[in-house]
């Protein structure tokens, strides 16, 4: 039997479908809880898949991965706490939408965009895996350095109030990301004599602190009449209307999904970077970039399509070369090895039925996400909107403490989260964008590793520093960075031209 048909037939058994449904529900819940990541969820489930047939185990893990990445959107939209780092950008417009009583609309948009992004990523995995993986291995340390520089230049568009303060926030985030053990030299640095700081700042703690705690503090001082606005608007047929609204944004969906797939392929990047790049590109392409951050559905669509596309993208180098594109893909790599499956061409020939079955199972899980996600999301939105603020505030803090602790079972992480929360509140008063600080936190280690490794590589060259400027892919990334950096100026010039007016989905 053809391995593709064989794989599909094996996935469509009642047992496998049940495993995938359980994986989707579980992944969604884990993703929605701040502090519990897709990597953690898959790692926890791997031991249970030992006894399953290989395809059942992989299909369950794939469903958890896909749903957990999407689940992060729930807490991002409803309480401004990204459930996973892949949903950072979803907070920017999702939470303002919820504050305007449009939480349900944001959840539907996130669901539909996640499903489409997920499908594009899986399609790329099924059709383009070998050629895309070949491009990925051409990325060396200089390219990774420039990728992170490109990421940092996003700040110029992201920080609408002051690009200068945005870059200051980015540098602050990068500096904070260097606390702990250095990635190349291996030295312990900036720990201020505190042993618990040797492990560095856990990204999730930083995220919860910077996004969640300042919001809690704002809720505490908000007046009763302002809180009334949080009540959700009742609207008939909101699922249909929002779905149509999302599907109208074909370019945004496609662009964000492609960004997610490409970023997913690059080892070490992943959803946390993809969603921000997609958000930036959606904002740059918009006729009304100034409205981003105020509750624009376009922003939610971009981030959610991109982060779910990284799932398929991240599995491309894993299945073809044995290089995991994302941390969760690394866990799935372990599961493949446990079942005696070695990544490479053999996976597509000798074990073709399992591999194609696994890819097909991702497709099924993505579609399951649509139904399960809408049901759970609607329920959560209703529940949270009915919850009085006096209960909501301590509940968010309680969840933040658990989330920060759960990552490494370390109380120091809780302290770091609270410290980030206090800092987050202060920098918000100083009009420094928390998103820029987070971007610095994410890209700092990637930039440093690329920078120092490139310097080491270039020692043999007559002029060492030229390694950053001579490789073709580096030149392309430098050009993209320059374009991204000066984009606000370019768009201002473009806006001055007469006859540019078009509606925006707010």
């Amino acid at each position: 039997m053809n391995p593709i048909v064989g794989g599909i037939m094996q996935v469509l058994t009642p047992t496998n479908l049940l495993f995938m449904l359980a994986g989707t529900v579980g992944g969604l819940i884990v993703g929605a809880l701040p502090g519990l990541t897709a990597t953690m969820a898959t790692a926890l489930i791997v031991p249970f898949t030992f006894t399953m047939p290989p395809l059942s185990g992989l299909a369950t893990l794939g469903a958890i991965y896909m749903a957990a990445i999407y689940g992060g959107a729930f807490s991002a939209i409803l309480v401004n706490a990204p459930g996973t780092p892949s949903s950072i950008g979803t907070c920017f417009d999702g939470y303002p939408m919820a504050k305007q009583g449009r939480g349900q609309e944001a959840i539907v948009a996130a669901t539909v965009a996640s499903v489409i992004g997920g499908l594009v990523g899986v399609a790329a995995l099924a059709l383009l895996a070998p050629p895309l993986a070949a491009i990925a291995i051409k990325f060396g340390p200089p390219e990774y350095f420039w990728v992170s520089v490109f990421g940092i230049t996003i700040i110029s568009t992201l920080s609408s109030k002051s690009a200068l303060k945005g870059f200051i926030g980015g540098c602050l985030g990068m500096l904070l990301s260097m606390i702990g053990i250095s990635p190349v030299g291996g030295d312990v640095r900036f720990t201020f004599g505190i042993p618990a700081m040797q492990g560095g700042i856990e990204l999730i703690c930083g995220l919860i602190g910077l996004f969640c705690i300042p919001e809690v503090l704002s809720l505490i001082i908000q007046k009763a009449e302002e809180l009334e606005r949080l009540k959700p608007r009742k609207a008939q047929g909101i699922i249909g209307t929002t779905t149509r609204q999302v599907l109208k944004q074909k370019v945004n969906l496609l662009r964000s999904s492609i960004i997610g797939t490409i970023v997913g392929i690059m080892p070490g990047a992943g959803g946390s970077i993809a969603n921000l790049i997609a958000y930036n590109e959606a904002k740059r392409a918009s006729k009304h970039p100034e409205k981003f951050g105020t509750g624009v559905i376009d922003g939610v669509i971009a981030t959610e399509a991109a982060n779910n596309a990284t799932v398929g993208g991240g599995l491309i180098p894993l299945l073809t070369l044995g290089i995991p594109g994302t941390p969760t893909a690394a866990v799935i790599y372990g599961a493949l090895l446990i079942h005696g499956l070695r990544p490479g061409m053999e996976l597509f020939t000798v074990h073709g039925d399992i591999t194609y079955g696994f890819i097909f199972s991702l497709l099924i899980a993505t579609l399951m996400m649509l139904v399960v996600g809408l049901a759970i999301g609607t329920g959560l939105n209703e529940l949270l909107s009915r919850l009085p603020v006096r209960i909501l505030v301590p509940s968010i803090v309680f969840l933040s403490i658990i989330g920060s602790y759960a990552i490494r079972n370390n109380m120091a992480d809780v302290l770091i989260m609270l410290a980030f929360g206090a800092v987050g509140y202060i920098i918000r008063q100083l009009e420094i964008d928390s998103g820029a600080v987070v971007l610095g936190l994410i890209l700092g280690p990637l930039a440093e590793e690329g920078f120092v490794q490139s310097l080491l590589m270039s020692k043999a060259l007559p002029v060492p520093w030229t390694i950053f400027f001579t490789r073709p892919l580096s030149i392309l990334l430098i050009a993209l960075s320059a374009l991204s950096l000066f984009w606000p100026l370019i768009s201002k010039q473009k806006a001055k031209r007469p006859g540019r007016e078009e509606g925006l989905n707010v």
Binding site: V30, L36, L44, L164, K165, F167, I168, C171, L172, M174, L175, M178, S182, V184, G185, G186, D187, R189, F190, F192, I213, V216, L217, L219, I220, I221, V389, R390, I391, V393, P394, S395, V397, F398, L399, I401, I402, Y405, A406, N409, M411, V414, L415, L418, G421, A422, Y425, I426, I427, Q429, L430, E431, I432, G444, A447, E448, F451, V452, L455, L456
Partner: protein, 148 residues
Amino acid sequence: MYNSDRTAAILMFVIVLIFAFQFSDIPSSYSRIFPKAVAWALVVLSAILLIQSWVNPRVVEFAETRELKKVGLAILLLFGWMVCISFLGFYLSSVLFFTLLMILVEPSILKLNKLTTSIFIAAVEIGLFYLVFTRALNVPLPKGMIFQ
């Protein structure tokens, strides 16, 4: 009223200074080179912001004193919660600080019957989270000295 640009620039200088004191403790140049580059970038950007704060001053309204007091108290409660976990244990300290935060948000619940209901809500919610995290998801929660 305060000049947000100037305050931000000064704060960044202080942060860079704190990090700069630690540079000499890093033995390998490979571990030092990138943080130094970022620190210099932060100094340059903050200097530009400082200059801008004089050339084009922008003042921002302070929050009301009553609001600031509430925020300060909330931050104290959050850190107090964390410290108490080490002594009272996670569950007991959580019920205590959960209730205290509820009172801070809505002081009117201090009436006896409302307070009892609030403590009950706190206990039930914490119990639910206990079941989900430790029993269903097998995720360990913080432990204290007296009560686990």
